[in-house]
């Protein structure tokens, strides 16, 4: 049989690798900055675009989509070509994919600090960028499937299945969760409201973890771990079961982010059950990865690549055991909203994602540059300092999480909250925050050591842009001819399009069962007659709340526990959120819950608190929001916003949009007048046109409608 010569494209692999390292360093640096801001709030230098609420999203987006995203593409482009024995389908598509993705990252890095956000976690980017992501994602899929169709191999190796599932599922998740009505180029409202929005968001949020941070990385594991160990995967059979079970189960697990919230109970239970079942395939994958190294443990002692892989797979095992445990309602009652959750997440991201990616780069880069790594010693130092970094990151945060939870729930013998002032539970954990940022610093130093090492490695070496390879052409019979007695699985597995359809079906089953009933069954969201739409001023205030990312630290969801109803007030009902496009339940309580904050304090209290939180709450770690006192509220979009809400079914009277601005100004004047009386301070000037007035209006409305009923 004649051999065909072809060339692997290494340049695109190099580009994605370097981009991953570059953005990774930036994303982690932003992470370090926000970690320090938690105990040095002044570090925002009173600049809005450096403030925690805004740049927290920059950190998460940068490390997920820029660091892991670019690294995933580097690994996929490297392994896919070799597993298919072909060059990528199109160099043009590869380049559009690369530059398009970097362009999106730049847009994110500009818009997020400017407060242009849809507020949905890990999907904060506004609608024009969402569309750009969709286009570039399709380019990636097109290039991948084009390559698969050009294959010179009879079979699709399991890693490619994981890549296909990633492509299909992320496309579905991204589109559904970002369905929004644009108000302007930089502003949109989610088409979903309240409970439904929360369910869609966490169906997305959890599966972003599953199909952006897990399945592609598992694909990379199934390729690079055997490569580095120079032996086949421990059990290919197990990898098949791992794959199907994982994609089937993951898609159902989202509601475990909403336990004890206003989400209907059946959906919560569904999330819990499937999360528990997830242990099986996850651990199957972990065992498969680790046992691939059987017989080469002596190499692990010397080879930094294998060391990174071992810790990565172990971290995967740890976080996929912890995840299901956190999905148990009794454990979740303790852990949710606390620092336990970031600890859990960072075992996954720093350990599993980060270390697998570092190991992969130490393996790929010297090879495509036809050289040896500059310093094995530095690679080993990176490994150790990174491992220490993870420990110093996670342990204090577990401690902080337990501490918070115990303090939030403690009652005195007389039946009062032992720590009635939320602030006490914050100042208590400052030492843990300091230690955590030290862990982050260590991890980042490790990354800079890697950058130095890589720089030295490639400095005097040449990139082998087009790597020659040979393989026999694939006769079309090999693919299509059915062999007697073969399983139909082979029929699927040899045809990528069938594979795409089947994995799509697998994820859609869970999606439909989970989402549709909540959308269509009226009983799932009982309406409350006294809940009315926001006034135009409150709506503008709510958009400021979104712009500043207040939901990064404050939840708006009181769970039905005595410790919460005592502290915050009546627990939250599903019917209270029917006009919340998008929902702002939040997922973390760095500060207290705000759902029943309305009318709890005077306007003057909010006014002083936003100007300088330590005035009302000595020791507070909340940043100052003084620009809200300087900037006029922009009402140019108010009318359009009301129209958008009307389109979404919010019952404003017909023609109300025309009166919206006037209505807004009246309410602003009312609040400003009340504020003047409350402040009793002739020196402070109160201007009703400032943003702070709108924010106060929103805060004073929060959670009050239900009280009118009584």
């Amino acid at each position: 049989m004649s051999l065909e010569t072809f060339y692997y494209d290494n340049r695109i692999v190099r580009n994605f690798s370097f981009a991953a390292v570059f953005w990774g360093a930036i994303g982690m640096l932003v992470g370090l900055i926000i970690a320090i801001q938690l105990y040095v709030p002044d570090l925002n230098l009173d600049l809005p675009w450096l403030t925690y609420g805004r740049i927290r999203a920059l950190h998460t987006n940068a490390v997920i989509f820029a660091f892991v995203g670019n690294a995933m593409f580097a690994g996929v482009y490297y392994s896919l070509q070799r597993l298919l024995k072909t060059r990528m389908f199109s160099d043009v598509l590869s380049n559009i994919h690369f530059w398009g993705w970097q362009f999106i990252i730049v847009l994110a890095a500009i818009t997020l600090p400017l407060g242009i956000t849809s507020s949905k976690e890990y999907a904060e980017l506004e609608w024009p960028i969402d569309i750009a992501i969709t286009i570039i994602w399709v380019v990636f899929g097109w290039n991948m499937f084009g390559s698969i169709l050009k294959t010179r191999e009879k079979h699709l190796y399991v890693a490619i299945w994981f890549y296909i599932a990633t492509f299909v599922t992320v496309a579905v998740l991204h589109i559904v969760n970002n369905l929004e009505i644009p108000v302007s180029l930089f502003k949109s409202y989610s088409v979903f409201a309240g409970v439904q929005d929360a369910l869609v968001q966490w169906w997305y949020g959890h599966n972003a973890v599953a199909f952006f941070l897990t399945t592609p990385i598992l694909g990379l594991m199934y390729y690079f771990v055997p490569k580095a160990a120079n032996r086949p995967v421990y059990s290919y059979r197990l990898s098949i079961i791992h794959f199907w079970a994982l994609i089937f189960l993951y898609i159902w697990a989202g509601p475990h982010h909403l336990l004890y919230t206003s989400l209907p109970d059946w959906a919560q239970s569904l999330g819990t059950v499937f999360s528990i079942m997830l242990i099986a395939p996850s651990w199957g994958g972990m065992i498969n990865g680790l046992l691939t190294l059987r017989g080469v443990w002596d190499k692990v002692r010397e080879d930094a690549v294998l060391k990174f892989f071992v810790v990565a797979i172990t971290a995967y095992g740890m976080s996929t055991f912890e995840g299901p445990m956190l999905s148990l309602k009794n454990v979740n009652a303790i852990a949710h909203y606390t620092d336990w959750i970031p600890a859990h997440v960072h075992i996954g991201t720093l350990g599993w994602n980060g270390f697998l990616i570092f190991g992969m780069f130490y393996w790929i880069i010297p090879r495509i540059y036809q050289t040896k790594i500059y310093s094995k010693k530095l690679a080993n130092i990176h490994f150790w300092i990174g491992t220490l970094g993870i420990i110093f990151w996670a342990l204090p945060m577990y401690w902080a999480g337990f501490t918070q939870s115990l303090m939030w729930k403690e009652f005195t013998a007389d039946g009062y909250l032992a720590y009635g002032n939320f602030l006490e539970t914050v100042t208590q954990i400052i030492p843990m925050y300091i230690t955590r940022s030290f862990g982050g610093l260590l991890y980042l130093i490790g990354v800079f050591i890697m950058i130095f090492n890589m720089r030295k490695t490639v400095k005097n070496a040449d990139l082998l842009s087009n790597e020659a390879a040979e393989a026999p052409a694939l006769v079309s019979e090999d693919i299509t001819k059915s062999h007697k007695g073969e399983h139909w699985h082979r029929w699927i597995e040899r045809r990528p399009i069938q594979m795409l359809v089947f994995s799509l079906l697998a994820i859609l089953v869970g999606t439909l069962i989970e989402l549709i009933p909540t959308m269509v069954i009226k009983d799932n969201v009982p309406t409350i007659a006294s809940v009315k739409p926001y006034t135009p001023l409150e709506l503008e205030g709510r958009d400021l709340y979104i712009r500043e990312g207040c939901n990064a630290c404050h939840s708006q969801m009181i769970r039905p526990f005595r410790s919460e109803t005592e502290r915050y007030g009546e627990y939250s009902k599903a019917g209270e959120f029917v006009y919340d496009h998008p929902h702002l339940w939040g997922s973390k309580r760095t500060g207290p819950d705000l759902h029943r904050i309305g009318k709890k304090y005077t306007h003057a209290w909010h006014f002083n608190h936003m100007y300088d939180p330590t005035m009302t709450s000595p020791g507070s770690i909340m940043p100052r929001y003084q620009w809200l006192f300087k900037d006029d509220l922009d009402v140019s979009l108010t009318e359009k916003k009301i129209v958008a809400m009307q389109k979404l079914g919010v019952p404003y009277d017909k023609g109300f949009e025309k009166e919206a601005v006037q209505n807004l100004q009246l309410q602003a004047k009312e609040i400003a007048d009340e504020l003047k009386i409350q402040l009793q301070d002739p020196v402070t000037e109160i201007d009703e046109n400032k943003e702070i007035i709108a924010l106060i209006a929103y805060m004073q409305r929060l959670g009050t409608d239900i009280k009118k009923e009584k």
Partner: protein
């Protein structure tokens, strides 16, 4: 817990069959692949396993 699930599920016609069908599909696929993994031809698996190792490293 089942009481609550049932309460919501009974409020729309035929909805109770959804999760059962879904679980059925999942269980079938899972059992199928388990059986496949047990019965599959060893040579075929070896061929698949060796795929990443097929390339000569530079």
């Amino acid at each position: 817990m089942l009481k609550y699930v049932k309460h919501y599920m009974t409020t729309i016609d035929g909805v109770e069959v959804y999760p059962i069908v879904a679980l059925g599909i999942f269980a079938t696929v899972f059992v199928y692949y388990t059986l496949w993994a047990i019965k599959v031809n060893k040579n075929y698996v070896t061929e698949l396993e060796e795929m990443p190792l097929d390339n000569k490293d530079i």
